[in-house]
């Protein structure tokens, strides 16, 4: 209960941070890493805490986390070497 509220606040803060980075006009590689990391962290919270996949046995958690890592990794690659 309390943990959920805490996670929610972190998600909001990370969103605000990403938004702030863009609003501040930080662009290109300087924005890429923090924004992608924030997204990764947010995704992990949703997957592990909200979807409650952490602690669930089997492949589900790793498949979903793997999806997130793969997509973000390739996005980072595509943006870095555009």
């Amino acid at each position: 209960m309390k943990a959920a509220t805490f996670n929610w606040l972190i998600l909001m803060a990370l969103t605000a941070l990403s938004f702030g980075v863009a609003e501040a006009g930080v662009a290109g590689g300087a924005a890429l890493v923090p924004v992608l990391l924030a997204t990764l962290f947010k995704g992990r919270i949703v997957i592990d805490r909200f979807m409650a996949l952490q602690g669930v046995g089997g492949a589900w958690r790793w498949v979903v986390l793997g999806w997130l890592l793969l997509v973000l990794g390739l996005i980072g690659y595509a943006f870095q070497y555009a």
Partner: protein, 175 residues
């Protein structure tokens, strides 16, 4: 449900990567078009979906303790967030349409409108699912020992949130 969620994640994932790699062919166009977006609206929408997800977590938490009423209330709160998201999104889209922009305008807008609309329809579907769950919860259809339906609906709603969490920085922020 989970294999369906995975299939959905796969579709979105392919679309995201298609965007990222299509962008490498025309970075200028993507950056220029991206600046025309309403970033604040996207930001508020992210907050709305995250909050909706949080409320759904609380709803699951409540039903686990057998509190049907409280569960129903949190589900309604989540749907309210979803509805607000849809309204904001419609305002955003209608602004673009009035400006004469369509999926055929350029590749960036094809992705912005196409992916946005695809996600939009998912939010609608998610609300239909949450609505069905809410109705059943309100009628006392779930119990502390039997709440699989709430969890399934919640999982789908979180998936929509998760997808948006990637979509928002990708299309609105990164340039």
């Amino acid at each position: 449900m989970w294999c369906f969620i995975l299939a959905e994640l796969l579709v979105f994932g392919v679309f995201f990567l298609a965007y990222a790699f299509a962008r490498t062919h025309d970075v200028e166009l993507f950056n220029a078009s991206q600046l025309e977006l309403d970033r604040t609206s996207g930001f508020i929408n992210t907050m709305l979906l995250i909050s909706g997800s949080y409320f759904v977590v609380l709803a699951v938490h409540r039903i686990r303790h057998g509190h049907s009423r409280a569960c129903t209330r949190w589900l309604i709160a989540a749907m309210a967030c979803g509805a607000a998201f849809l309204v904001l999104k419609l305002v955003e889209f209608s602004g673009k349409i009035e400006a004469g922009i369509s999926m055929s305008t350029n590749t960036f807008y094809m992705f912005y409108l196409g992916l946005g609309f695809f996600h939009f329809m998912h939010v609608v579907l998610g609300m239909v699912i949450l609505g069905a769950v809410t109705l059943k919860a309100w009628r006392g259809g779930y119990h502390a020992t039997d709440y699989a339906g709430v969890e399934t609906g919640a999982a789908y709603w979180h998936m929509i949130d998760l997808v948006w969490i990637v979509l928002f920085p990708l299309i609105y922020l990164l340039n």
